[in-house]
């Protein structure tokens, strides 16, 4: 049975061919998502790098209590290492040129998510919070079974949604700082010009932390997962249960 179906199966959909255990490659990340994801990497990097050159000129944010300062953004060594000192003007020139590309890529991504209805795989639903807790417990080896998931697990859905929201706030607060008069009263949304500056900075730190976590998780997930964001496909060996679902769905 299995052998004959190999010989007779068409490359296109043949109900017989899905029964057996031959691995196939299934599309998980559409081409548009892949391009926009990877284009975003250097753009985000240039924006943060040029943004830090701007921040250097007035680096007032720090953690501490009273006069005791625990951590200042950023220690001088950071500025020296990355050559961020006395580069305010160049930083602004890069920021206000590449910013457009960052925004265009983001807008294209938002339109694509809406038009392809891909957003449904990302935006969490009511059960995502409790499932995300189970994902974390599973990741920490405190729970044997991972909760059910679609394209992304519940923790991914929540963190991707948070990071996309942060990116939106980042861009809007950036415009509020960039053109506070032209876009008045936009800065009021952030408590004024200095409020927008603080939120813009905070969102940047948030995005940086996400990038760190994201890279760690990608490394943990392994090569096949990384490759899927380059090629679009994952190799899957169909389990009987998945086939059952397929049958039920029809």
């Amino acid at each position: 049975m299995a052998e004959t179906s190999i010989e007779t199966s068409e490359p296109t959909i043949d109900p017989e061919s899905v029964i057996h255990d031959e691995p196939v490659a299934r599309l998980v990340h559409p081409r548009a998502i892949r391009w926009m994801h990877w284009i975003n990497v250097p753009l985000l990097f240039v924006m943060i790098w040029s943004g830090l050159r701007i921040y250097w000129a007035e680096d007032v944010y720090a953690f501490g209590i009273g006069s005791w300062q625990w951590f200042a953004f950023f220690p001088d060594a950071i500025y020296e290492t990355f050559g961020l000192e006395r580069r305010l003007a160049r930083g602004m020139a890069f920021h206000f040129a590449f910013g457009w590309l960052f925004v265009l890529n983001g807008v294209a991504y938002a339109i694509y998510l809406a038009a392809s209805r891909e957003w449904r795989h990302i935006v969490p639903d009511r059960q995502s919070a409790s499932e995300a807790k189970d994902v974390v417990l599973h990741d920490l080896h405190l729970r044997r079974q991972a909760p059910p998931q679609g394209k992304y697990n519940a923790a991914q859905r929540i963190s991707y949604t948070v990071v996309l929201t942060m990116a939106l706030v980042l861009v809007v607060s950036g415009f509020a700082i960039y053109k506070p008069t032209q876009l008045h009263p936009l800065p009021l949304l952030f408590g004024g010009y200095q409020g927008a500056r603080l939120i813009h900075f905070t969102m940047t730190i948030g995005l940086l932390l996400f990038v760190v976590m994201h890279v760690i998780q990608v490394v943990r997930s392994g090569w096949g997962n990384f490759r899927s964001m380059v090629t679009g496909y994952v190799i899957e060996r169909r389990s009987p249960r998945a086939d059952d679902h397929r049958e039920d769905a029809r």
Binding site: V24, E58, R90, P148, R197, T231
Partner: protein, 262 residues
């Protein structure tokens, strides 16, 4: 009651199993191609980055970046021209910090100060002392002064709108597109387009709060606006020159945007 996990899984995976599949050998071919395209893209991005850095500088930054700053200004001035910044109640104003001494390093004799007003042909239109500015309609504005470094402060300025001062010469000058302002020693100079300097919030300042300006803040006469960064707000004005060409600008020569508009 918790939902049946398999039902939940089915809900989560809706549509996913209908995504197209390809045989594994076809996948290997495409995979190779994807990685090659990826590597080529990384190479192209690196080349583009190097190309950008290698472009000739205009005012201290590569030409494409300078062009983008100009394009940005064209875009924003088209989108919304002559909008005004918010003004604040008097109680919000604080003394503004002192930030930069270029052009005002040495104290001057305020009683001996005059300002030269020059026409676009270089001719002297006027040589005025402070009484000429005291005679014009006096205004107050409490605005947020924004430094290009990132700090800002709400400050109470008193003085004369530039547009009221300009009235004296408007008929004689006709259509002149730019104004240049310089410190008496010529070390600091800024260029303004006419639309921006005639904005009702562009002020020739004589007072901070109710006090006359001190020398640190540009006594006896400085420029102020909430609609451009502080780098455009020249202290201790020595020359006001109308110009047909875009005037030189101290900070635009040092990599900053010529307009520095907000």
């Amino acid at each position: 009651m918790t939902p049946d996990p398999s039902e939940r899984e089915r809900e989560l995976r809706a549509g996913l199993d209908d995504a197209p599949t390809i045989p594994v050998d076809e996948f290997r071919r495409r995979s190779r191609r994807s990685f090659l395209v990826g590597a080529a893209s990384v190479g192209a991005a690196a080349l583009g980055w190097n190309w950008l850095q290698a472009q000739p500088d205009v005012g201290g930054i590569p030409k494409p970046l300078r062009d983008t700053l100009e394009l940005n200004e064209a875009l924003w001035s088209r989108l919304s021209e002559q909008r005004s910044a918010p003004e604040f109640p008097r109680s919000k104003a604080t003394p503004i910090r002192m930030n930069g001494r270029i052009g005002i390093r040495n104290e001057i004799d305020l009683d001996a100060w005059t300002v030269r007003v020059e026409g676009p042909d270089g001719g002297l239109l006027d040589q005025l002392d402070i009484t000429a500015f005291e005679a014009l309609p006096q205004r107050e504005m409490i605005i947020e002064h924004k430094c290009i470094e990132g700090w800002s402060s709400i400050v109470h300025w008193g003085g004369v709108r530039f547009r009221d001062f300009h009235e004296r010469y408007a008929a004689r000058l006709g259509d002149v597109p730019y104004v240049s302002l310089e410190t008496p020693d010529g070390l600091y100079y800024v260029g303004w387009d006419m639309a921006s300097i005639l904005h009702p919030q562009t002020m020739l300042v004589l007072r901070q709060g109710d006090e006359p300006l001190d020398q640190d803040h540009g006594a006896p006469l400085r420029l102020a606006t909430p609609n451009k960064y502080g780098i455009k707000c020249l202290k201790r004005i020595g020359v006001i020159r109308y110009s047909r060409e875009r005037p030189a600008d101290y900070w635009a020569e040092r990599s900053y945007d010529w307009y520095a508009g907000l």
